[in-house]
């Protein structure tokens, strides 16, 4: 009877948790920090971009957010709340920057951010997208943040409320006001925008 070869264990190494990576980052492990960056950069950038109405400085602010974390990773006591912490720091930095240097209106920013091809069929869709972006940009900052976290980043109301350091009821109120404002802003062009949306999907 032959000796059976030992079963090879699964070679897939589980992804280290945020807590593990933070602990390593606290020991100045840049590789661990790079993993945290790749895990959370997109969400933080998306939020900052939205809060800054597509301003080109969004990348700089996002970087400053992560550098703040790198300066003292131990400042975050609950590693599970890292994403919320980053979003909060990012939004605070946006507010600070807006106080020092008012941002451009979205009319300019949308042109910078929108790199859609100018093909005939996509023109209406691009215009509709810009109209929606403008309507969101016109909302107050807290409403914009709630919209961005829940609708664009797919956070649950509970997580978004924790990120914004408000109660779930307060978050829902912010979302309701934001949605009401958006409806008022977009209702006049509703048919045109929905038609453009349908065209874009064809």
């Amino acid at each position: 009877m032959g000796i059976a070869a030992p079963a090879t264990p699964a070679t897939a190494v589980p992804e280290p948790s945020d807590a593990e990576l933070l602990a390593r980052a606290a020991e100045r492990d840049q590789q661990a920090f790079a993993m945290l960056v790749s895990r959370h950069y997109r969400v933080v950038y998306g939020l900052v971009w939205r809060l800054m109405n597509g301003h080109a400085d969004a990348e700089d602010v996002t970087q400053a957010t992560f550098l703040k974390l790198w300066s003292d990773p131990a400042q975050l006591r609950d590693a599970g709340a890292l994403r919320g912490w980053l979003c909060r720091v990012g939004s605070n930095l946006v507010t600070d920057r807006a106080r020092r240097k008012p941002m451009n209106p979205l009319d300019e920013a949308a042109e910078v951010a929108d790199a859609s091809p100018t093909a005939e069929g996509l023109m209406a869709g691009a215009e509709a997208r810009a109209a929606v972006d403008r309507a969101i940009a016109a909302r107050p900052e807290r409403q914009k943040m709630a919209l961005s976290l829940v609708h664009m980043n797919g956070m649950s109301n509970i997580d978004a409320a924790a990120t914004m350091a408000v109660s779930v009821e307060a978050l829902e109120s912010l979302l309701a006001r934001a949605r009401r404002g958006l409806k008022e802003a977009l209702v006049d062009r509703k048919e045109e925008l929905l038609a453009a949306l349908a065209d874009g999907r064809e």
């Binding site: 840049q30 920090f33 950069y41 970087q63 992560f66 664009m152 409806k183």
Partner: protein
């Protein structure tokens, strides 16, 4: 006239249109490079500017006083008796110094 309204579903469809910004290419690499620079910056030994000390000014004070004293004594003629003439060095005689008028005469050879 009744105003058109928008349903939640319609708004959700429009919200799905909103731009989801793509992360700029190389953004994460730029961040890590910035981080590495910041780290390197922390190890640079910074030289603090030297503090201005009072001692050089204090030591300059007697020097300045000595200079002022010397100028005064020289101007008042107190040092003249101590300045002797020798055979090799002619005594200065300012009265004999030729003036501008004499220069013309000398150049024309009428004076020696």
């Amino acid at each position: 006239m009744t105003r058109d309204v928008m349903s939640d579903t319609e708004l959700d469809r429009l919200l799905a249109l909103a731009t989801v910004p793509a992360v700029p290419e190389g953004a994460e690499a730029r961040l890590m490079a910035r981080l590495a620079r910041a780290e390197a910056g922390e190890t640079v030994v910074t030289f603090k500017p030297r503090q201005r000390r009072l001692v050089p000014w204090l030591s300059a004070l007697p020097l300045a006083a000595s200079l002022a004293c010397g100028i005064y004594l020289g101007a008042a003629g107190f040092a003249d008796p101590y300045m002797t003439t020798t055979d090799t060095v002619a005594a200065m005689d300012d009265s004999a110094a030729p003036g501008l008028d004499d220069v013309l005469a000398i150049s024309e050879g009428s004076a020696s």
